[in-house]
Structure formats: structure tokens, C-alpha cells
């Protein structure tokens, strides 16, 4: 009889025990598949958010603004925005250029109708955008859940639903906002809520409102300017080529030499950390599988002690120690293969379900200034399945080599005489 047939039969001699071992590996396999697809989902979510909300493929700002951004020096802005947009969109591979102005300030609500006095204060961020120009970047229409988009030139705004609830405003209501200006003074303006937005970014919902760029320019005294310029490219992953072209343009024009272009990948530290997170998650997956595999080691050890005399007889009948090792190894290998098939099937179903439903972290991310959505969608890739197949089968089979060595060292005479 072939060794593989014997090994497969042996696996089912203690069905409950074998099933428990397999179940442990199955759980570790499902968990591993989920973790790998979650970190990939987080990374692509972060990339999407950075491109839409923060930088586009390339972001241009005054170099001095980047240097002192902790002081919020909004007087260091880009002048003659329209002219620069024209120059940049003429570069091969740049598909769009939009200006944005973002300032922090205080919303004063609950204005007394008689005295006109504003009382309650809330911290908020205002972002001036070119609504028509942002249709392929921030895509404001897709964020709109109530009301309508603000008209350019008006004092209408689109407010995050969390912020709207916090200050108690709805469409048609008004509030006043006070913030620093590019003239290094302070200004306040009253805005009317035209629409409510719901963004995947928790921070955006809880702290932001959007207003027309031209109104914002007037409000913060940034005539014809913007704080930053976001450039789009056909393929953000390959935007280094366009970045070099943009840098050449900025370097060659003395009026633009104070500007600095940054690639989306260099925005913040968190995206870079996601690469390290992927590695950490891989190590964690291996750790979970090793933890699960200890059950297989235990099961194999028990099988060896139970079949002590049988091993002796097999040895006396001429079975070599290496063949004994192979026998137990094959038993574990089959357990690993079955675990992988079941674990990957169930894991794939679970992850595909979560890919549709998403994992809602609710308000947990509201106050966190990271480029991650409050609802995360795992992203299952083929390489996750291949990697998990390798991890599950490989680890479960390899760990049995430790107890198998014990079986190989058993002397047939001792085993037969053992009571």
C-alpha cells in the first residue's frame, strides 16, 4: 500500500482530534486572509483619500508654507493662480490643476436675533474649492446627501453632516465663521448652508465645510491666489515623471522658484508606514499560523505515543526511519491541505462579504487626523490567497518534523516490548 494512502487513512483514525486540529488551522487561515486583505484595503483607501482630499498626484505650495505649516502661515500663498494653472496643464501628462484654500477657524452659531450677538463657538476647517473643477478630484457631487452644491461666487457652503449636527444647522440656515486671513489679520463672514455632505473621511464630516474658491479668496484676502494647487495625472503611481517636469518648470521661471512640488506618496508619514504595516501583518499571520500549528504538533505527538507499538512493528517489518517520518509528515500535510481548502474558501466568502459591506469604525476616527476612511473595505487580491495557501500548508507540514524525529528514533524492540 502506498505511504500516502496509509497517511490519509491514519488522519481519520481519530476523527474528532483531526477535525479539531484542522479547525484551529482553518481559523488561523481565515484570520490571516482577513488581515492581509484589510491592510491592502486600508492602503488603497488611504491612497484614494490622499489623492482626492489632500494632494492630487502632485501638490504645489510655497516652500516656506511647507516649512512653517505648523504656524499656519496662510499669507504664504500662490499668486496668479489662473496663469500658473495654464502653464501647468500645458505640461505633457498633467490632466488637471485645481486651486484650494484651507483655513482653520471658529464657527459662531446661535446668533441672537435681537442683538445680533454670536455666542457658541466651534472649531472648524473651511476649504475653498473650485466646484466645477473638482468634479474628477474631490467629486463634491458624490459627497452630497442633502440640498445642492454651492454656486460659485456665492456665500453658500456644503457642510459635513457631523459638523452640521454639532452646530445645529440644516440647509437654508446661516452661521458666521471667523479665521485668520492672508493679510495676517482676521475676518469673519456669514455663510448659508446649501448642502450637507457625507464623506468617507470621518474628520471631513465632523470638522469641514466647503465653499466656492472665489468666495474664499475674498474672505481670506487672497485675491487671485490659492494656498495650494493640486495636479492630476493619468496614473498617480507613475507621477514621478510629471513631477520632474513640474519641478523643471518651477526652477526655470524665477517668479515660480519659491514654489515646491510634492508627490502624493510623500504626503504625511502615515502612507509610508502602511508599507511597514503590511510587513507586520505578514509576520502576525505567520505567528497566528504557528500558534495554530502547535495543535498539530500536539496531535502528532499524541499519535506517535498512541501508535508506539505499531511504529515498532512497522520498523521490525522493514520500514525505514525516513519512511516513518514521511508517514507522519504526510498526515500533517493532508491536514494542512484540508485546512487551506476550507479556510481559504470560508475566508474568501467572509472577505468578499466585508468588501461589499465594509467595516464601520464609526466615530472612532472622527478626531484622528489621518487619511483613512471611517468605513474600511478589505481588498482581497489573488496574491493573498496564494500566500495564505503557502503559509497554511507549509507551516502545518513543516512543524510536524519536530515530533516526527521522535518517531524515527524509536527502536522496534523497545516499542514491541513496551506495555
Amino acid at each position: 500500500m502506498k505511504l500516502t494512502t496509509v497517511a490519509f487513512r491514519n488522519l481519520w483514525r481519530h476523527k474528532t482530534r483531526s477535525l479539531l486540529s484542522i479547525l484551529t488551522i482553518v481559523i488561523a487561515c481565515i484570520l490571516g486572509l482577513f488581515m492581509l486583505s484589510l491592510v491592502t484595503g486600508m492602503k488603497s483607501d488611504m491612497k484614494r483619500n490622499i489623492l482626492s482630499y489632500y494632494t492630487g498626484s502632485i501638490r504645489i505650495r510655497q516652500a516656506q508654507f511647507n516649512r512653517y505649516d505648523y504656524l499656519n502661515p496662510i499669507h504664504l500663498y500662490i499668486h496668479d493662480l489662473a496663469e500658473l494653472q495654464q502653464k501647468l496643464t500645458a505640461i505633457d501628462g498633467i490632466t488637471g490643476a485645481v486651486g484650494r484654500i484651507q483655513v482653520g477657524g471658529k464657527i459662531f452659531s446661535d446668533t441672537d436675533p435681537v442683538s445680533g450677538e454670536a455666542s457658541e463657538k466651534f472649531n472648524a476647517m473651511a476649504m475653498g474649492i473650485d466646484f466645477p473643477g473638482e468634479k474628477d478630484i474631490l467629486k463634491p457631487r458624490t459627497l452630497l446627501v442633502k440640498g445642492q452644491l454651492p454656486k460659485m461666487g456665492s456665500r453658500e457652503i456644503l457642510i459635513g453632516h457631523g459638523l452640521a449636527a454639532k452646530i445645529g444647522v440644516d440647509t437654508g440656515d446661516k452661521f458666521s465663521f471667523m479665521s485668520p486671513t492672508a493679510a495676517r489679520g482676521v475676518n469673519a463672514m456669514t455663510f448659508e448652508v446649501a448642502g450637507i455632505l457625507n464623506s468617507p473621511m470621518a474628520e471631513f464630516n465632523s470638522s469641514y465645510f466647503l465653499l466656492p474658491l472665489d468666495t474664499m479668496q475674498d474672505f481670506v484676502r487672497m485675491k487671485d491666489g490659492a494656498l495650494e494647487l493640486l495636479l492630476t495625472t493619468p496614473e498617480p503611481e507613475e507621477a514621478e515623471i510629471q513631477l520632474r517636469r513640474v519641478e523643471t518648470l518651477l526652477a526655470e521661471d524665477p517668479t515660480l522658484s519659491s514654489l515646491e512640488a510634492t508627490l502624493w506618496k510623500d504626503q504625511g508619514d502615515f502612507y509610508g508606514m502602511m508599507g511597514i504595516s503590511e510587513l507586520i501583518y505578514n509576520i502576525l499571520v505567520i505567528f497566528f499560523l504557528l500558534l495554530g500549528a502547535t495543535v498539530i504538533i500536539n496531535t502528532t505527538m499524541m499519535a506517535i505515543y498512541e501508535r508506539y507499538r505499531e511504529i515498532g512493528i512497522l520498523g521490525a517489518m522493514g520500514m525505514k526511519p525516513s519512511e516513518l517520518v514521511r508517514l507522519f509528515f504526510l498526515e500533517a500535510l493532508f491536514a494542512g491541505i484540508i485546512s487551506a481548502i476550507v479556510g481559504l474558501s470560508l475566508g474568501t466568502v467572509l472577505v468578499l462579504f466585508l468588501e461589499q459591506q465594509g467595516l464601520n469604525f464609526g466615530h472612532a476616527l472622527d478626531s484622528m487626523n489621518i487619511e483613512i476612511s471611517s468605513i474600511l473595505y478589505p481588498d482581497l487580491k489573488l496574491y493573498h490567497v496564494i500566500l495564505m495557501t503557502f503559509y497554511t500548508i507549509g507551516i502545518s507540514a513543516l512543524v510536524t518534523l519536530i515530533p516526527c524525529r521522535k518517531a524515527a528514533r524509536i527502536k522496534p524492540v523497545d516499542a514491541i516490548n513496551a506495555t
Binding site: 445680533g116 450677538e117 458666521s176 493679510a183 489679520g185
Partner: protein, 248 residues
């Protein structure tokens, strides 16, 4: 000990106590007198000024020009520089309001909030009497840039709400002009220092026309107030100091 000797002992003790406390009592009176005279020097019923607030930091200078009217405890400022044109600040009934032409709301501000740089609402709008809000104590005399000055410590009276709970004021001995003010928190941490760099005589009154403000922590930031023009004791309509007038 006989009663007579005992009484004599008490009398001696009281005399000694009075002798020791007398200079201190005299000094306390003297501090109040110094402050009162300093306020008399500043004393005008009403004023109109045209002035500038300038802030200097690592990014350069920011100047806000304004005109202001003051009478009693009331103060109204109207900004005239391009970027702030039409903004108004009113202080009346010990409250500060800031009006912006682009806003339908009128903002109530804390006296200690900054208008620009180190200059707070309190610094430019405060017309109240020192002795109404502070208890004063003469801390000694000191020469300030060669000018002999009284150094007076001021501490806020219980129940009074002021931007600076503790201050030390240097008052010129010869003419009772306030030369320097150092502000502290309630616990005594220094906040900032105001120094008068120039005093001019306007309509018979000596007015500080160039003031430098420095910060005890942010040493790279300074603020200045320049009074370019002033008219004193002129008639000002009561309505000017009302919230209704702010949005006109």
C-alpha cells in the same frame, strides 16, 4: 509685676507696633496717590485718535491702521487699513464686541484675546480706572533708562474681571507718566511687557504715542502701537458707543 508696670509694657508694645507699621501704611497710601496722579496725567474726558498697530515676527511686519473714539469707559475703534477696512471694535459696559462687515453676527470677545500679534483688546480699549479694579502697593523706586520711576505692584480686586490679574507699573517720579507695564498671570508668570518709547504733549495732556510690546516667551515677536494724531476733550455722541452703531 504690678498693674502699672504691665500697662506701661502694653503701651510700649503698641507704640513699637505703630512705629513699625506706620511707614508701611504710609507707603500704601502713597502707592494709591501715585496711581491716582498717574491717572490724572492721563486724564481726559474724551478722545479721538488715528493710530496704527504693528506686529513684527519672523514673517515681517503687519500693520493695521485705525481711528478710535473714547469717552469714560467706552471705546470704539474703526479699522481703516485695506484688508481690515470697516471692522469695528466696541468696548462698552465692560464688554468687548468685534464687528466684521462681511458677517451678520457681532462677536463678543474676551478682553485678553489678541487683535494682532501681542496686542490684545484690553491693551487698546481699556479706559477704566486702575484703582477701581486693582489694589496697589509701592514696591520701591527704580531708574528706567536713566529716568527715576516708582515701581507699583497691582493685584486685581476680588470679584473684578480683568485681562491681567497682576501687573507691575513703572511711573515716572517727576511727572507721573506711566513708562512701563509688565503683565503677569494670577500665579505670577510674566506674560508681556509694554514700554512707552515716546510721550508727546497734545492739547495740554502728555500722551504716550509710541508703545512697544514684547513677549516674555516668544522673544522673536514684538508689537507696536503708534498714535499718529489725537484730539482730546471733544464732544462725542453717546450713540457712537452702542452696538446698533457697529453695523452702520
Amino acid at each position: 509685676m504690678s498693674n502699672h508696670r504691665k500697662n506701661k509694657g502694653y503701651a510700649l508694645f503698641i507704640l513699637l507696633l505703630v512705629t513699625l507699621l506706620l511707614p508701611a501704611l504710609a507707603a500704601a497710601q502713597s502707592a494709591e496717590e501715585i496711581v491716582r496722579r498717574a491717572e490724572q496725567v492721563r486724564g481726559y474726558d474724551s478722545a479721538y485718535i488715528e493710530a496704527r498697530m504693528v506686529n513684527n515676527d519672523r514673517f515681517g511686519s503687519k500693520s493695521i491702521s485705525y481711528r478710535a473714539w473714547a469717552r469714560g469707559d467706552n471705546f470704539l475703534m474703526e479699522m481703516t487699513s485695506d484688508a481690515e477696512y470697516g471692522q469695528k471694535i466696541l468696548r462698552t459696559e465692560d464688554r468687548v464686541y468685534h464687528f466684521f462687515p462681511d458677517s451678520e453676527a457681532i462677536f463678543t470677545k474676551s478682553k485678553g484675546d489678541s487683535i494682532v500679534g501681542l496686542i490684545s483688546y484690553e491693551d487698546v480699549t481699556d479706559e477704566s480706572r486702575i484703582l477701581d479694579n486693582y489694589t496697589v502697593r509701592l514696591d520701591g523706586e527704580e531708574s528706567l533708562n536713566g529716568i527715576p520711576c516708582y515701581r507699583v505692584d497691582m493685584e486685581v480686586k476680588r470679584g473684578r474681571r480683568v485681562a491681567y490679574p497682576r501687573q507691575t507699573v513703572w511711573i515716572e517720579r517727576e511727572n507721573y507718566i506711566i513708562r512701563k507695564v509688565r503683565m503677569f498671570t494670577r500665579t505670577g508668570t510674566p506674560l508681556k511687557t509694554m514700554e512707552v518709547r515716546r510721550v508727546e504733549e497734545i492739547d495740554g495732556q502728555r500722551i504716550a504715542t509710541d508703545i512697544l510690546i514684547t513677549d516674555n516667551v516668544r522673544t522673536d515677536v514684538t508689537s507696536e502701537i503708534f498714535i499718529d494724531q489725537a484730539e482730546l476733550n471733544l464732544p462725542i455722541d453717546d450713540r457712537r458707543f452702542t452696538r446698533r452703531e457697529l453695523s452702520r
